[in-house]
């Protein structure tokens, strides 16, 4: 055999994206690496640095004949948090669910346009959804830990789905719990059921579960809307810390929340993107009259 190992083309479909873009963990380290805790060993998570762009180009989404997202152009920038605001039913969830292709799981739903992760179209032919969802993690409105699994197994679930070697799992679970700000609260009780945690802790468990597979992008669909103010604040702080590691988009109903966590805010109305800009400008001096009306509470 006279080929070089590097000439072998990757045929495994799961690695299709992986073979075309370097893994996020291999991205250059941040200028000041985050300090390492003595309890949790270093893992890719700590070296992670948000570098990936998501760009939606002329994205349309439908439920049967209901045209829920109508030609949105929007980017999620690395190192920044993008908030998506807008009245109920305007298509915020539908739009973010197109990014990790959860939209297509709904019977009768389809979408059109491009969703670019850097320069790879996640909707393109031959791109495997499993790979897409490894690169684009998601946190839902309702905390949804797996009911039969322990705290540890919940966080390990994604690693097991993707065939992570056994001996790496413990370190990566610990690192993910640390990154989700949950380690101190669950240390020593990792084998208890995930459902035994409080609502806010469950939501951070779900964040840890999403982070454990070291995604490049994290989508959060109203992650705090079922939580009390203290738990909400914790998650908002967490978002602020995580944005250095992973590109974040947060759907929220809560304008104060967008103001607190987001660098960029996008305003949607009836399936269209009305305006996007720096959060400060969106709330004080928006270009569009409808944005102004919405952020000042005149409708929505």
């Amino acid at each position: 055999m006279d080929y070089e190992p590097s000439d072998v083309t990757v045929v495994d479909r799961k690695d299709e994206i992986t073979s075309r873009i370097p893994r996020p963990a291999e991205a250059p380290a941040p200028a000041s690496p985050p300090q390492q805790s003595s309890e949790t060993p270093a893992s890719g998570l700590e070296r992670m640095h948000a570098t990936r762009h998501i760009r939606l180009e002329d994205l349309h989404a439908y439920y049967g004949s209901n045209h829920a997202v109508k030609g949105v152009n929007l980017s999620f920038e690395p190192g920044k948090v993008t908030a998506i605001i807008g009245p109920s039913g305007c298509g915020k969830s539908t739009m973010v669910r197109c990014v990790n292709r959860m939209h297509e799981e709904i019977p009768g739903a389809r979408s059109q346009g491009r969703v670019l992760l850097d320069d790879v179209d996640l909707r393109g032919p031959g791109v495997d959804v499993v790979a897409v969802r490894r690169f684009v993690g998601m946190v839902f409105q309702k905390a949804n830990p797996f009911p039969t699994m322990s705290i540890f197994d919940n966080v390990a679930a994604g690693l097991r789905f993707t065939g992570t070697p056994r001996d790496e799992i413990t370190d990566r679970v610990n690192a993910a719990l640390e990154a989700a700000g949950l380690w101190d609260e669950v240390e020593g009780r990792l084998s208890e059921p995930g459902m035994s945690l409080s609502g806010g802790q469950q939501q951070r468990l779900c964040i840890a579960r999403a982070l454990a597979v070291e995604p490049a992008v994290l989508l959060m669909d109203e992650p705090c809307s079922a939580l009390d103010p203290v738990a909400t604040l914790k998650i908002e702080e967490l978002i602020g810390q995580l944005k250095q590691r992973v590109t974040i988009a947060v759907v929220t109903h809560n304008m104060q929340q967008a103001g607190r966590v987001a660098d960029t805010t996008a305003f949607m109305l009836s399936g269209e993107l009305v305006e996007v800009g720096p959060t400060e400008k969106m709330f004080t001096n928006p270009d569009d009259e409808r944005t102004e009306q919405y952020v000042t509470g005149k409708f929505g």
Partner: protein, 279 residues
């Protein structure tokens, strides 16, 4: 106002009466079987072979029923669970509906007809056999297993399944690693209730595994002695000893069914608690 009060009261009282009636029927059945049957239970009765005359017991019938139920469960439970997974997780709305409808019809087929069907299929031209009896019981169990497992799988909240998909698990992987474990105790409940139902069936066995020797038979290619046909046979004899033994066998049967349903209910309560927390 007073009239509405009176109607309320009347409805309440009739509901109570109806409920009491159901409890009373169950109590009467249990108590009379216990009174007539419990006295028969002793080691000889449980270990001796069946007989047409003299004392004997039901030992070989217990073994045969165990084999029949075991074989039927091995056929019906895996197939029923696969059908349930298909209808609840994969089938489109229409095909899922059609399959569930067919299962409901199958569930409504009188079991004597199931017996005749199995007789025509497996016994005519061959001979009676344990296999034929097991197939008959499996046909009784299949729709029960499939429907009850479908119900509990459908109870697993969609947002839990979504969490699996969003982590990059395929639909199958999500089903096997997330949905089935979450529903597992409910699925076991369904399977146990189906066993409890099948263990008391007589009609599917009457034509296909009823002519058996009063000996221990463990080879399912031969007709297997079994409890329900034995009860039928003993109660048809003129011998009062055999009548009493029929009650004894009935008592054993009903104890077994009761125990199974209690275990099944407590498992399903456990699953509901767990899902209650996930809702």
């Amino acid at each position: 106002m007073r009239r509405r009060h009176a109607i309320n009261r009347a409805v309440e009282v009739s509901c109570w009466t109806a409920a009491l009636l159901a409890v009373a029927v169950l109590a009467i059945v249990l108590v009379s079987i216990a009174l007539k049957g419990a006295g028969e239970i002793n080691l000889d009765f449980l270990t001796q072979n069946t007989s047409s005359f003299g004392v004997g017991g039901i030992g070989n019938a217990l073994v045969g029923t165990g084999i029949l139920i075991g074989l039927a469960a091995l056929m019906a439970i895996p197939v029923g669970i696969l059908i349930a997974i298909y209808t609840s997780e994969f089938a489109g709305r229409r095909s899922g509906f059609v399959i569930r409808y067919v299962l409901d019809i199958l569930n409504g087929v009188p079991t004597i007809i199931t017996g005749i069907f199995v007789f025509a299929l497996l016994v005519v031209g061959h001979q009676q056999s344990g296999w034929a009896g097991a197939v008959g019981l499996a046909i009784v169990m299949l729709p029960l297993v499939a429907r009850s497992c479908h119900e509990v799988l459908a109870l697993v909240p969609g947002h839990v399944k979504e969490a699996g998909l969003a982590l990059g698990a395929s639909r199958w992987r999500t089903t096997l690693s997330v949905t089935v474990p979450t529903a597992l105790s409910g699925m076991i409940t369904g399977a146990l209730l189906a066993v409890a139902r099948a263990v008391g069936e007589t009609a599917p066995l009457l034509l296909v595994t009823s002519i058996y020797p009063d000996l221990l038979v463990t080879d399912p290619s031969q007709p297997l002695p079994n409890v329900t046909v034995t009860i039928f046979r003993y109660s048809e004899t003129p011998d009062p000893v055999k009548h009493a033994q029929a009650w004894g066998a009935a008592f054993i049967l009903i104890l077994f069914v009761l125990a199974l349903s209690i275990v099944a209910r407590s498992l399903s309560a456990r699953m509901r608690r767990r899902l209650g927390a996930a809702r």
